[in-house]
């Protein structure tokens, strides 16, 4: 849609027209300022906590383990320079050979949600996959943080039990 609008403006005589192709979704996902009826709504990016343990590809599992134990989570996230999320070290990897490096034992490409994900959509996603946490990233793949299911607003946390009751009827 925006390429056609840009072209139309050029035909109307505007000489310096730029097309922000990635548009509103990209802007919101980056947490940049918005206006409108839903501008104040809290989204995944607002709830993302920055206290997850992170490590580099070359770090030893044995060196990562204490950081995970000191965090509220049972996993670590592997990031590259610039914070791009590359992988996840889960329980099995963390309890394995301490001399192996993160790159060898990580689960590559963990699923993420964008900062602009609405909290109801996030709750539904966690429900569907039976997950306790969601990893939040920027459109460029950089780690933002982790949202815990139990920290979603009560209305969203209750989604599972309501759905279960519905199914039972």
């Amino acid at each position: 849609m925006s390429p056609r609008a840009a072209c139309r403006l050029e035909t109307l005589g505007f000489e310096r027209v730029f097309d922000y192709v990635e548009g509103k979704a990209d802007w919101i996902a980056r947490g940049l300022p918005t206006e409108g009826e839903r501008a104040g709504e809290r989204r995944a990016g607002h709830l993302a906590r920055r206290d997850v343990a992170t490590c580099r590809l070359s770090e030893r599992v044995g060196d990562v383990r204490p950081h995970v134990e000191a965090s509220p989570y049972g996993f670590a996230l592997v990031v590259a320079d610039g914070g791009v999320l590359l992988g996840r070290l889960g329980r099995v990897a963390l309890e394995g050979d301490p001399d192996r490096c993160a790159e060898e034992v990580m689960e590559p490409g963990p699923s993420t949600v964008r900062m602009d994900t609405a909290l109801d959509a996030l709750a539904e996603r966690l429900d569907r996959r039976d997950l306790k946490t969601a990893v939040v990233s920027t459109p460029d793949g950089a780690l933002v943080g982790v949202v815990r299911r139990k920290e979603l607003p009560p209305g969203e946390q209750g989604r599972r039990s309501t759905a279960s009751r519905g199914n039972a009827l």
């Binding site: 403006l9 505007f14 509103k24 990209d26």
Partner: protein, 67 residues
């Protein structure tokens, strides 16, 4: 053809006085839009609706995403 702009380009252009135009329908604009954007839905974009834009300043247009 208008050059594509990435988010950093958009921020720089806005800092330099560019005008921001959302071309989605009014209801979508009312719900949520980039701060400072005005709304000219594509279906109504023409000489009359664009008359409020300053032709001497850059214009950045956007919709929802690249799809």
């Amino acid at each position: 053809m208008a050059p594509p702009a990435r988010v950093d380009d958009v921020r720089r252009l806005l800092a330099d006085g560019a005008q921001l135009v959302e071309v989605l329908p009014e209801a979508e604009y009312a719900e949520l839009h980039l701060k400072g954007a005005r709304n000219i839905p594509l279906k109504r974009l023409g000489a009359e609706t664009a008359a409020d834009l300053d032709p001497g300043r850059p214009v950045v247009v956007y919709c929802h995403d690249a799809l």
